[in-house]
Symmetry: C2
């Protein structure tokens, strides 16, 4: 093995995180081999994935910029500057930012994946090997075994082996067999099912059936549906319902789904002609949070969902994965002679961020499902925006920090808590309550 | 299959929980088959296990009573009515109870296991099959596959299959493959190593080298050693040290362990002639908390460490397992026609208890390691005992509820929090602080 071989990096998984990492390392002159279990999506149909569209925000854009790919978003994303809350057929728009102008971006997962794959493949240093399923990894020996599509086994070897192979990561599975590896998988009582609002020929938003520049939410009794716009005029809707209980997948059989929608999501029902058929045929997916500790053993290291699979409610899964990829690439490129040191630095930086966004994503489910429809919640959001307008960076709403900055997640969470504490201390509780009441009155009296 | 076969119960694991459950079901007239991976300990040496002695308290005694075996403790246990804290060669005794009379009981794990095994085997209804390793369980079919010691596979079938096979449960492993099974394993940064204080010929406590009626603790800088008495005059010591760091297994090589002990555990070092050899040869064991949800799929159900492996710091692992076994046996015996209903009732009752004692055991590590040596902690304990003396059952210290009652763990924790809140509310913070200061002065000025 020559000196050059020693710095080659093996990446397992050609999803979003794996392809971005390959591109960044390749652009940095590092040789990379990417192994992917599935076939080449460019020849054989789209790569699978958890959801059809993603919400890419500041952290994702930052990663794309580092890879020289930020132009893609201009051409292929639909900006969503706020939430559209649907209740009893009426809608209220809640801006995501104080200025009302900052937006998260609805993009197609498979298109973004293809873009990143092509961009990585452009680099001479990057080689892709498809149809290779990871069988086992040995962190001590720095070896990894694969089976090709005919079941033939092959072994490869590198100082750095990156598991970018998603929530059910095979690389993490191998690390789980090493001593004292902490791991958790925690399933919600809720599952998800994807449905469609197809494009329309006419109407005020044509080809869109409803306002395209928003993330739509239909909150309802401990469950919700959301919808994100696609470039072709359709929306991908996702039902987040409990598996069992009064308003659940278990309680609503396909033959009653139209009646249920007419009652609780009437304006959506009106634009969903294929509801019964899709509800009957589309699977229910589970929602899990997975965490582990550590994220590496020697040179075998995890990024993205393999290290921290989170629920989708903050729209941060892909964004967090891009941050991982960028941080790891920077570390490896900065210290070619000390890959283990670079990996340790990456882990120290990122583990708190992975845990923080996992927590925040769970909390945002409660917020979207139970609070977005409430007057007090809208008042609180307005108050936050008001305070941000008055105090600037001294008061940054948590949602803004998470979605529109690259402040590390854990720091954003701490800062958000501190801001409210400082505010209470500065104004006294009484004044705070008065402000809140004023804001509430404002919210109720103002339209929308 | 006849009607009688339908009510037969398969238990996997002939450890403490499995044997107690078999005994309770057998006494209730239920046919039971117990499969155990290891050989029969009565013919082939002791069953393995995590620690050589256990602290059995009220919940364990309650389980033994239900099995008609409470007499064993009278003959084979050493009561420990309090903690003996060793610091810089001096000792302080802290009673566990307000009366000073209630004690937890040091018993040999392997002897207790043999007692329970014999007691279960006495029942005509109970059959043991040793040397049978669980390969897989199918909750839908109600089948379980084993391999015998020659590797021959066998399948058995029952409506109720109980996994009592410990922290690394094979039955739980099979449940983990079912959809949406939540699971976590969380390792401490600390490990444990067992050492011995051998019996002595002479001295004030002979054959014991130190006071036998206490659980000894040597707290020291973020780590500790404990010692529990054995019937033969020896003590089993356990080092709970971090793997890495300033005072850790990594930092103290065998050739420096005597010097280290002389410095930090001097009175123990004086009675540990085999220290160097034992420190060198005995393994370091990991300390993990494992949780899962749910504890059953259809008729396949988990009890004891298989459902909730906890760290040993509250001395409640075996006690909690006995509570599980007793509760499950009661449910199954009360509803012979509805085993799944009985299992669901068991799970609903016990899951919060398993989580609560897992949390409490982790907290007690901090208490034992960092607080027991402090004056304020001793003052707080005295204050608790004082308040219990004054207020009776209206103020039950948490340790008393956990160790000397069968109040469910989660309820005990809630009650403990509520008591302090009520006290603060009733007396006002100022009075509370004054009482605490008085108690502190009392603690410092009184001997011991």
């Amino acid at each position: 093995m020559n000196a050059q071989d020693d710095t080659r990096v093996i990446i397992v998984g050609a999803g979003l995180a794996g392809c971005l990492l390959a591109r960044l390392l390749g652009r940095g002159g590092r040789r990379v081999t990417v192994y992917e279990r599935r076939g080449d999506p460019r020849g054989r149909g789209p790569l699978g994935g958890r959801s059809i569209n993603l919400a890419i925000s500041a952290r994702g854009i930052d990663g794309l910029k580092a890879a020289g790919l930020e132009g893609h978003l201009r051409d292929h994303a639909i900006p969503m500057p706020g939430r559209m809350i649907h209740q009893e057929g009426r809608t209220v728009f809640q801006a995501y930012s104080a200025s009302g102008e900052k937006a998260i971006n609805s993009v197609s997962r498979s298109e973004l994946n293809l873009l990143l794959l092509d961009a990585a493949d452009e680099c001479e240093e990057v080689e892709f090997r498809f149809g290779m399923a990871c069988l086992d990894v040995d962190p001590e020996a720095g070896t990894i075994r694969f089976a090709d599509e005919e079941g033939r086994e092959q072994t490869d070897r590198a100082t750095v082996i990156v598991g970018a192979d998603g929530a059910y990561s095979g690389v993490r599975g191998a690390l789980q067999k090493t001593p004292r590896f902490s791991f958790s998988q925690d399933f919600l009582e809720d599952g998800y099912k994807e449905l469609t609002i197809p494009a329309v020929k006419e109407g005020p938003h044509a080809p869109y059936a409803i306002e395209p520049r928003a993330l739509h939410i239909w909150p309802h009794g401990g469950s919700m549906m959301i919808a994100l716009p696609n470039l072709d005029g359709s929306f991908t809707c996702t039902l987040f319902w409990p598996y069992e209980g009064p308003h659940s997948f278990g309680a609503v059989p396909p033959e009653e789904v139209r009646e249920f929608f007419d009652r609780f999501y009437p304006d959506a029902s009106a634009v969903m002609p294929d509801l019964e058929e899709e509800y009957r045929s589309n699977p229910i997916g589970p929602l899990a949070t997975m965490r582990c500790r550590p994220w590496h053993r020697r040179g075998v290291v995890l990024i993205g969902d393999a290290a921290h699979a989170i629920v989708p409610f903050y729209g941060q899964g892909a964004n967090a994965s891009f941050e991982d990829a960028k941080r790891l690439a920077e570390g490896l490129l900065a210290a070619p002679g000390d890959p283990i040191g670079a990996i340790e630095g990456y882990y120290r930086d990122r583990v708190d961020q992975g845990n923080a966004i996992a927590d925040l994503a769970l909390q945002n489910f409660i917020e979207m499902r139970d609070h977005t429809g409430k007057g007090w919640f809208r008042a609180k959001k307005r108050l936050e925006h008001l305070l941000h307008g008055l105090l600037g960076d001294r008061f940054l709403p948590l949602y803004e920090m998470v979605s529109f900055t690259t402040i590390p997640y854990a720091e954003a969470r701490r800062k958000a808590r501190r801001q409210w504490r400082t505010l209470y201390a500065a104004t006294g509780w009484t004044t705070g309550v008065v402000i809140l009441i004023l804001a509430a009155v404002l919210a109720i009296t103002l339209p929308g």
